[in-house]
Subunit: 342 residues, 2 copies
């Protein structure tokens, strides 16, 4: 009889919470696809690729472009098949069985999921009632832990934690601090400037959100070269396919996605309207977290209107809905429902 | 001070042995790209994709097509970002720290590399002097091990091991037997027929070789549903990007790659010529393993001619070169050098 590892038996396969609404506002994607002019360039690049050849291992050209953009060494950068893969590698490279990984809660689910999949022990530290970090509790939990994950801005709450707290945690923690800046382009707040001084800091960024490339699976980390080297030791050599490498290179050669400003403006306008009627978190990301009275009923109302949203059922997030800031037409439909009262 | 895991410190990052020759015959790629008519269909599919949306988690459409093709249940199939990723997941899901993984040697390097990266213990079992499995030693090593990797045909030797030995190992081993059929389309020999009876059997296949899609990173495993479910528990939910899923779907809807027959014919013709002059292994794959007198000198001669080859330096493979069977023009150049004597 073939036996799966006990720690793996206990896992549930990740539930991506799928509901295929006409208006997909449940996954914090960019509602705008890559701009047509850039898409055209991307398709021309793909047409010239040799599908039969292995991709460049380690995505050297892409890393060079990123290094220049961020003013860090190419050896400090590792590209992942989505940031998910980098989170996995960080835990794999640094955590022995049972090692503790500090996870502010609620936050991005994959920190906990991937800690468990790698036989590490996630230690949940609840956010305070303003959805901010409990700095003291984080530092207590960090003693003896291998790493802390901090999403900045946080998902699903949407806010950036207190910058002073994060700064002190990076400065004082004796373990890795992984700062996941997946939504950076919507917050414009970053700790990248601390990278050269703090050897324990890892910054995660992604092409999935502001860059409209969730379908191509591209995340990257920036960290001290020793940390990058450790991740490279466990990285699959050909983890980034040729098409994704080429697409990212094209996208970076062009100016920032012009829709980012639009999304930020729409998000803030929606916040201004909704806060009069609902408890809603001021957002630094491309989504809003809103508390409704009856989550199940609200979810059904949105589904009936063809709108996918993310509704939370348990704990501190019970009856909170998370909704992506989409195109004006999509946001108008969302507001229409919410203004009626749910 | 941030500390990498001891087991990871000891690893070397994988060396993909790069030399960018004009004629790339070092990585067992398909020298023919995807046929132009299919490329055209692929590009049309890509042009219609929404880059901004997350890919379908678990590649359900692709798995359905593969399930129909192979007459297995879709739940028995897991698609990986290359077979590498599936090898990694199998070890991650089944091996605790120090668990033994049996690796016939020489074989595909990644079995050992990924066992070490996952803190498992690779147990090398040397092939016999005909590069065949030492069935008795494999079964001895398998006692108490978690899995056995068997490349069929084997890489880098190119031969299929004795079918009777493999059959008995699958039947009698108490652990997982992972049969890597990456080069199946060039051997036409498979153990897929045993899948329904043997709950410990895992078959790996890939789009990187016969299907000319190494650049898109697509492998898949077929196994008992319980094994597939365990792998899905540790799998990154969005491990296969939207472009690779779409490409594979298009490729499978079309007839088998017509170049496979050409490559087989060229391989056999080259074997017939070379065996008169060199020790060379009869190949069931898309490459040949040839023993030369002076490996370093031979490598230089090929590099000077702009031809990338893989030369082995150590142990039983010392002075063996592995060379991909390419297009007729490429093969002619290879024969020209080898006929002169190296």
């Amino acid at each position: 009889m073939i036996k799966v590892k006990k720690s793996v038996q206990a896992l549930a396969a990740y539930d991506p919470h799928l509901f295929a609404g006409r208006y997909k506002l449940d996954a914090n994607e960019n509602s705008y696809d890559v701009p047509p002019a850039i898409r055209k360039k991307i398709l021309a690049r793909i047409a010239g690729l040799h599908f039969n050849r292995y991709p460049d291992p380690g995505a050297p050209i892409l890393r060079k472009i990123l290094a220049k953009k961020h003013k860090v060494a190419p050896e400090s950068i590792v590209v992942g098949n989505g940031s998910d893969e980098l989170i996995h590698y960080l835990i794999q490279a640094f955590c022995e069985k049972g090692d503790r990984v500090v996870v502010p809660t609620p936050s991005f689910e994959m920190y906990k999921v991937l800690a468990l999949a790698n036989n590490a022990q996630p230690v949940a530290v609840p956010l305070n009632d303003r959805f901010d970090l409990d700095e003291k509790e984080i530092m207590n939990a960090a003693a003896g832990a291998k790493m802390i994950f901090i999403a900045y801005p946080n998902n699903p709450t949407g806010n950036c934690f207190s910058g002073d707290s994060v700064l002190r945690i990076i400065r004082d923690a004796k373990c890795l601090v992984v700062l996941d800046e997946a939504y950076f382009e919507f917050s414009n707040k970053s700790f990248l400037g601390m990278l050269k001084k703090r050897k324990n800091l890892v910054i995660l960024r992604t092409f999935s959100k502001a860059f409209s490339m969730a379908g191509l699976r591209l995340g990257y980390m920036m960290a001290d070269k020793l940390i990058a080297a450790a991740v490279n030791k466990v990285r699959l050599p050909y983890n980034i396919n040729a098409v994704s490498q080429a697409c990212a290179e094209v996208v970076l050669k062009n100016s920032p996605n012009p829709v980012i400003r639009k999304i930020i403006a729409q998000r803030d306008a929606m916040y201004g309207i909704l806060k009069k009627q609902y408890p809603v978190v001021r957002s630094d990301a491309n989504f809003l977290l809103i508390k409704v009275k009856d989550g199940m009923r609200t979810k059904k109302i949105f589904e009936k209107a063809g709108i996918s949203i993310r509704m939370f059922k348990d704990g501190i997030l019970r009856n909170f809905m998370r909704i992506t800031t989409g195109k004006p037409e999509e946001n108008r439909r969302v507001l229409e429902i919410l203004k009626r009262g749910v």
